[in-house]
């Protein structure tokens, strides 16, 4: 398992053609501190005291995993849909292990859609906490190079 890295690239430059369906990235270990969870419980960024991770923590973890897997969401992409399934509550000050992979890629109405899947588990017990996916309109399509 790889540890958090602050020097990962900030923006993806991965072309649609480079994405491989079902190729796994991770698991990436990420801490869910009380401070992180508290800043996502009420108005974003405002500190609050919480004992459990509020739901807004998980899209943030998805983005952190994406950043570590492929440098993040590419510039010019559009987030179209997001789905989350909650399997267990997560106490704060725990580490989670996030695995991510491309679940599907397809062109619909001349637009390239990429589904990226996430599996978030308690790093200590391996209990599944949240699963989900982002469906993104990718900035490049088949046969197109990144800028």
């Amino acid at each position: 398992m790889t540890r958090p890295s602050e020097d990962a690239p900030a923006l993806s430059n991965v072309a649609y053609d480079e994405l491989v369906v079902d190729e796994r990235f991770g698991p990436f270990e990420e801490p869910v501190s009380a401070a992180l969870a508290g800043r996502l419980a009420g108005p974003i960024g405002a500190a609050a005291d919480v004992r459990l991770a509020p739901p807004a923590v998980f899209p943030v973890l998805f983005l952190r995993a994406l950043r570590r897997a492929m440098g993040g969401i590419p510039s010019g992409s559009i987030l179209a849909k997001q789905e989350l399934e909650f399997h267990a509550q997560l106490p704060v000050d725990r580490d989670v292990a996030i695995t991510t992979w491309v679940g599907a890629k397809e062109v619909r109405r001349e637009r390239p859609f990429v589904t990226i899947e996430f599996d978030v588990r308690d790093a200590r017990s391996d209990a599944r906490i949240v699963t989900g996916r982002k469906i993104i309109v990718w900035p490049t399509g088949p046969g197109e190079e990144t800028s």
Binding site: A8, P43, I44, L52, P54, R67, G72, S75, K81, E85
Partner: protein, 125 residues
Amino acid sequence: MSAARGAFPTVTDTVTQDNIDAYAELSGDHNPLHVDPAAAAASEFGGIIAHGPIALHAFFRAATEWLGVEALPAGTEVKVTYRAPTRPGDSVGCELLALDGDVVEAACVKPDGSTVVSVRAVLPG
């Protein structure tokens, strides 16, 4: 659905550059569309837009308040469609559209009535 539940609450968030910057810091997503005014101005959006999940935040706050919990319980499912970007200064309120047992349909809307996020969720009580 639990009989203890009251009316689905109305929660409104105001999008600010401060909370966009906070979200960028927390998520590591420093896309120039969110944090670089010059780059965002030159984009198709013509200015800063917020990270997508910021527009969803009012729904998460309303859902946890409605259930009286900090964390959504096992069995919760949330499906989100992002329909329009939000920008600093936008007010985004979560409105209940329909409720059928544990199934909630909601929308995050701006004061002009335009929907930025549509949500269908199962919120077990």
